[in-house]
C-alpha cells in the first residue's frame, strides 16, 4: 500500500505549505476535456481509501454502476503497474470505505447532500473524511453552491475535492493568475491544482496553496497512462 501512496498524484500536496487540503476546505482540479479529471479524482479517492479514510464519491453525471466501473478499471491499471499482492484486502477496504452518491437529472442541491450525509452518519455511522465531487458544471453552478459546499466541509469536518472543466480557447485569468472557470471563485478554494498535458507527460501544478501568497514552480509529473507520479 505504501507503494501506491508514494506515487499517488496527491504527492503534489507535499509541495503545499500544509501538506494537505485539510478538513473544512475545498480543493479543485482544473483540466480541459479528456485530460483525465475523473481518473485523477479517483486516484485521490484511492489515496484516501488506502489510508483507511472514508470517502464519499458524488457523481452528478453518471450512475453508480459506471462510477464503480471507473474505479475497477483504474484499480486494475494500478495493480498492473504496482503489482498489488492483496487484492481481497483492497476490495474490502474499497467496499467499506467508499460510498457513491449519484444525483441524476439535476437532482443535486446542497440541502439534499446535507440530508444524505446526515443519513450516512446517523444510520450507517459512515463519517466521511473526504468528498469527491465529479461533474459539477462550474459554468452554470452559482456561487451559492460552492459556498454551500464549503459550509458542508466545515459542518461535517471533511475536505472536498472538485473537478472543473477549462477550455483551450478561454484564456481568462484573474489578477492572482487563477484561470477560468475558477477565477471568480478562488477565494472559496484552499487548493487549486491544474492538470495539464505536455509532451513529456501530464503535469499537476499547484496554482493556489492555502494562504501562501508565493508559490514556487510546484509541479508533479504523472505517467499519462497510469496517472502515477513519475518523479
Amino acid at each position: 500500500m505504501k507503494d501506491f501512496i508514494s506515487v499517488s498524484p496527491l504527492r503534489i500536496l507535499e509541495k503545499s505549505s500544509r501538506k494537505e487540503l485539510g478538513s473544512g476546505n475545498l480543493g479543485v482540479l482544473i483540466a480541459r476535456a479528456g485530460v483525465g479529471k475523473t481518473a485523477c479524482l479517483i486516484h485521490i479517492a484511492f489515496d484516501k481509501i488506502f489510508r483507511k479514510e472514508r470517502l464519499v464519491h458524488i457523481s452528478l453525471e453518471e450512475g453508480p454502476e459506471k462510477v464503480m466501473s471507473f474505479y475497477d478499471v483504474i484499480y486494475r491499471d494500478l495493480d498492473q503497474a504496482l503489482g498489488f499482492t492483496d487484492g481481497d484486502e483492497h476490495r474490502m477496504m474499497i467496499d467499506r470505505n467508499r460510498m457513491i452518491l449519484a444525483y441524476l437529472n439535476q437532482s443535486f442541491d446542497v440541502d439534499r447532500l446535507r440530508t444524505n450525509l446526515m443519513n450516512l452518519t446517523e444510520n450507517l455511522e459512515f463519517r466521511p473524511n473526504a468528498l469527491i465531487v465529479d461533474g459539477l458544471d462550474f459554468e452554470k453552478a452559482e456561487r451559492i453552491i460552492f459556498e454551500g459546499l464549503r459550509g458542508i466541509a466545515g459542518e461535517f469536518q471533511l475536505e472536498i475535492w472538485l473537478s472543473a472543466l477549462s477550455h483551450r480557447h478561454v484564456t481568462q485569468t484573474n489578477e492572482r493568475g487563477i484561470p477560468y472557470p475558477c477565477h471568480k471563485l478562488d477565494d472559496l478554494f484552499s487548493l487549486i491544482i491544474q492538470l495539464q498535458p505536455e509532451p513529456t507527460g501530464v503535469f499537476l501544478r499547484l496554482l493556489k496553496d492555502h494562504d501562501n501568497p508565493t508559490i514556487s514552480d510546484a509541479s508533479v509529473r504523472l505517467d499519462p497512462n497510469t496517472f502515477l507520479a513519475l518523479d
Binding site: R98, M99, S107, R112, E122
Partner: protein
C-alpha cells in the same frame, strides 16, 4: 418463402415487475384479433389476463411462467413470449431471451428505469437482443417520459431516442405524435381500436420539430443515405425507417415509444414499430457448437431447406402429456418427421405439432426456420438440441443460476406423499433453478430455489395442481464451506477381513482453488498409483464435497493434488482407492481451516427520497453493506449487498417503514465468509437442528 421469414418476428416482452407487460400483451392480442375482449390483470371480471394462465397468476396479478402466443399485424406474424417480472423467476426471462430475435423493454413513465429493468437489460445484453423501448403508464400522475429517456441513456447506457412524443401527460395524456410521419395519433372507440390521424397540436409543434431533429441526428449515424438526405433536405419516411431499423438491429439505437396500455393508447403504433424496427430471424446471427469438430462454433443458416437445428427451450407438463417449446433455427419440421436429440442420441418421430396461444393450442402441419412451435410427448430436458440426425450440433446452453434458498417440506398425509413426488418430478424438469432432494439424515424433502416467492409458488402449485398439501419448515439459507489454507494428506486405506483385502494409499495436498471450482490434479509419478485407479481417487474426493465436516454443507472452491501413493498387486481396487481418497479428505479437511460461506444478495431498494434514512438503517441492521445511493427526482435508489439470511421478512419491514411506498428486488451476488461473531451461533443452531432431527 423468404417473405414469410422476413415478415416473422420472435419477440420477448420484459420489464420491471408491475410495469404492465401482461396488460400490454392483452392489448396486442386484442388489436391483432387473437382475442375478442380485454381482461385485466387481477381484473374485477374475475377472468384475468389471457397470458396469465395459472390460477395463481390470476389471483396474485403476477406472471410466473412465461407464456407463448402469436398474432398477426399488418402482414407480419409475431411470436410473443410474455415473461415474468419478478427476479425469482429469472430463468423464465433467460429462456425467453435465448430464443428471441428482438425485445420490447417496457418502462414505467413514473418509476422509470427500476432495478429489475437494469437486470432485464443486462440479460438482453447477454443474449445480444436488439430492443425497442415502450414507456408505459404515461397517463399516471407523476408520469415523466423525458426523465425516463434520460435514465435509459444514463442507467442503461442505451442510445435511446424518441420516435414519438406525448400529447399531454398524466390525466391529459390523449395520444402520441409520430416523429417520422409528423402526425398526431389518437386511439378512440371503446377499447382504443380506432386509430385517428390528425394534425400535431399547435402547442407542441415546436417540440415535435426539435425531437424529430434529434431522431434524424441519431438515425443518420446508421445510414449515409439518410445523412445525405438530411443535408439536402430530402428526407423520406422510408429512409428514416431503414436507418432506425439498421441502428436497432445492430443494437446501436433504441427507438422509444410511448403510451398507456391500460388506457389503450399507443399500442398499435408500438406494433408498427415491432414490424419496422425489430429483426426478422434472418437478420440475427445464431451459432451452434459442432460436436464433430471439437466444439467449434458454426453459424446457423435461417433457411427452411437446411438440415434441422432446433432448441427445446421450455418444458411444460400438461394434462395431455409433456409439451416441449421449440425454436427452429434452421430447416423445417413436419408431422411424421424424424428428429434426434443431440444429448441422448435418442430418435423421435414428430407427432403432434402445435402453435401455442397461452394455454390453448392450434395444430399445425409444418414449422420452418425461425418459427416457435411446441411438440407433444417428447422425453427431453429443457435446453436440449434437436436435429434431423444429419448434423451433430448442440446449441450453447442457457445461463442457469444456482439456487440460494431451501425449504424443508413434509406431506400432510399419505395421499399427498405420492402426489408430492409427481409434482417435484414435474417441476424439476420444467425449471432448472428449482431443485429437490431428500436429506439423508433427517429424511426430509428439501426444495431449493431462487427466493422465497419462487418456493412459495411451487408449494402452492403442489397443493392446487397435484392435490399435494405439504407443511413447510422455515426457509434455510444455502450455506457453503470452503478451505482457506493448504494442508497435506497421506492416508492408507487397508482392510483385511477375510477374502480379498482392500489396499490403497494416497498422498498429496488440498488447497483453495483459484477458479473457485473443484479441481483435481494428478501429479503421481512412476505409476505408484496405477493409472486406472486415478479416476476412483478423483471420485472419492468428489463424494466428500457434498458435505463438509464443519457444518455439513457442500464444499466450494477446492483443489485436490495427488502426488504420491502406493498400491498392492492383489488388494488394490477402484473401491479401495475411492475409500482411501475419502479417508484422506476427512483426515486433512479441518487442518485446511475451513470457513462457512453464505450467499450475499445484491439488493436494490427504490422509494421516495424522504425514506432514505429509514431504508439505510434497515439495511445496516441486516449486516448489509450499502454501496451507493442514487437521487433522481423525488426518488432514491439504494444499492447494497446483504446476506440472504438477513433478508427473510424484509418485504414486510420495508412496507411498514415506508408506508408501502418503497419496493425492493434482490438477486444472488456472491458467496462470502460468515463473520466470526455469527459462526458460533450458526454452528449451534445447525447442531441443535441436527440433534432434533436425530431424536425424531
Amino acid at each position: 418463402m423468404n417473405d414469410q421469414i422476413q415478415n416473422l418476428r420472435n419477440i420477448g416482452i420484459s420489464a420491471h415487475i408491475d410495469s404492465g407487460k401482461t396488460t400490454l400483451t392483452e392489448r396486442i392480442l386484442y388489436y391483432t384479433k387473437r382475442i375478442f375482449a380485454i381482461h385485466e390483470v387481477k381484473g374485477k371480471d374475475g377472468v384475468g389476463a389471457t397470458m396469465d394462465t395459472m390460477e395463481l397468476e390470476k389471483e396474485r396479478g403476477i406472471t410466473i411462467a412465461s407464456a407463448a402466443t402469436h398474432c398477426e399485424w399488418k402482414g407480419h406474424r409475431i411470436n410473443i413470449i410474455d415473461t415474468p417480472g419478478h427476479v425469482d423467476f429469472t430463468i423464465e426471462v433467460e429462456r425467453a431471451l435465448r430464443v428471441m430475435d428482438g425485445g420490447i423493454l417496457i418502462l414505467c413513465a413514473v418509476g422509470g428505469v427500476q432495478s429489475q429493468s437494469i437486470a432485464v437489460d443486462r440479460q438482453m445484453n447477454r443474449y445480444e437482443v436488439p430492443r425497442i423501448a415502450f414507456i408505459n403508464k404515461c397517463d399516471r400522475s407523476g408520469a415523466d417520459p423525458y426523465r425516463v429517456l434520460e435514465q435509459l441513456r444514463e442507467k442503461l447506457n442505451l442510445n435511446g431516442v424518441f420516435v414519438q412524443i406525448p400529447i399531454g401527460l398524466e390525466g391529459k395524456f390523449s395520444g402520441v405524435v409520430d416523429l417520422v410521419l409528423m402526425k398526431a395519433f389518437y386511439f378512440e372507440g371503446t377499447s382504443g381500436e380506432e386509430v385517428r390521424e390528425g394534425a400535431i397540436p399547435s402547442d407542441i409543434i415546436e417540440e415535435a420539430k426539435e425531437r424529430r431533429e434529434e431522431l434524424l441526428d441519431a438515425a443518420s449515424m446508421f445510414s449515409d443515405d439518410l445523412m445525405e438526405a438530411v443535408l439536402e433536405d430530402e428526407v423520406t419516411e422510408d429512409l428514416i425507417y431503414e436507418a432506425v431499423r439498421t441502428g436497432t438491429v445492430s443494437r446501436g439505437l433504441t427507438p422509444v415509444f410511448l403510451g398507456s396500455a391500460y388506457k389503450n393508447i399507443g399500442v398499435q403504433s408500438l406494433l408498427d414499430g415491432v414490424n419496422r424496427y425489430l429483426p426478422a430471424p434472418t437478420d440475427v446471427k445464431n451459432n451452434a457448437i459442432d460436436l464433430d469438430q471439437k466444439g467449434k462454433e458454426v453459424p446457423l443458416e435461417c433457411n427452411p431447406d437446411s438440415p434441422v437445428v432446433a432448441l427445446g427451450f421450455k418444458l411444460e407438463v400438461t394434462p395431455y402429456g409433456q409439451l416441449t417449446y421449440l425454436r427452429l433455427y434452421q430447416g423445417s419440421i413436419g408431422k411424421g418427421d424424424n428428429l434426434l436429440i443431440t444429448r441422448t442420441r435418442k430418435k423421435l418421430k414428430v407427432g403432434r405439432l402445435v402453435r401455442m396461444h397461452a394455454d390453448q393450442m392450434e395444430d399445425v402441419t409444418e414449422a420452418r426456420a425461425g418459427d416457435i412451435v411446441a411438440l407433444f410427448g417428447v422425453d427431453c430436458y429443457s435446453g436440449d438440441t434437436f436435429t434431423n440426425g444429419r448434423l451433430n450440433y448442440s446449441m450453447s446452453s442457457m445461463f442457469v443460476p444456482e439456487p440460494v434458498i431451501s425449504l424443508a417440506i413434509n406431506p400432510e398425509d399419505n395421499k399427498a406423499q405420492g402426489n408430492m413426488s409427481k409434482a417435484l418430478n414435474r417441476f424439476t424438469r420444467e425449471d432448472p433453478t428449482f431443485r429437490s432432494h431428500v436429506d439423508q439424515e433427517s429424511g426430509e424433502t428439501i426444495i431449493s430455489g431462487m427466493g422465497e416467492l419462487h418456493l412459495e409458488v411451487y408449494v402452492e402449485r403442489m397443493k392446487r395442481e397435484f392435490d399435494a398439501a405439504v407443511n413447510t419448515g422455515l426457509p434455510q439459507v444455502a450455506y457453503r464451506e470452503a478451505i482457506t489454507k493448504m494442508a497435506s494428506f497421506d492416508y492408507t486405506h487397508k482392510k483385511q477381513t477375510g477374502g480379498a483385502g482392500q489396499f490403497g494409499r494416497v498422498a498429496g495436498f488440498m488447497e483453495p482453488s483459484e477458479s473457485g471450482a473443484y479441481e483435481f490434479v494428478n501429479h503421481v509419478k512412476g505409476g505408484v498409483i496405477p493409472i486406472e485407479f486415478i479416476p476412483a481417487v478423483d471420485k472419492g474426493f468428489q463424494t466428500c464435497l457434498g458435505k463438509g465436516q464443519l457444518i455439513g454443507f457442500p464444499v466450494l472452491g477446492m483443489k485436490m493434488v495427488v502426488n504420491d501413493g502406493k498400491s498392492h498387486s492383489v488388494d488394490s481396487s477402484e473401491r479401495a482407492f475411492r475409500a482411501a481418497a475419502v479417508g484422506a479428505f476427512k483426515q486433512v479437511y479441518m487442518k485446511a481451516k475451513p470457513v462457512i460461506l453464505e450467499p450475499v444478495m445484491k439488493v436494490s431498494v427504490e422509494g421516495p427520497s424522504e425514506f432514505q434514512g429509514n431504508v439505510m438503517a434497515s439495511i445496516n441492521q441486516r449486516r448489509g453493506l450499502i454501496t451507493s445511493s442514487t437521487e433522481d427526482g423525488v426518488f432514491t435508489t439504494i444499492e447494497a449487498e446483504v446476506p440472504l439470511a438477513e433478508m427473510f421478512g424484509y418485504a414486510t419491514t420495508l412496507r411498514s417503514l415506508t408506508q408501502g411506498k418503497a419496493e425492493f428486488t434482490m438477486e444472488f451476488s456472491r458467496y462470502a465468509k460468515v463473520p466470526g461473531s455469527i459462526v458460533e451461533e450458526l454452528k449451534s443452531e445447525i447442531q441443535k437442528k441436527t440433534k432434533g432431527e436425530g431424536k425424531s
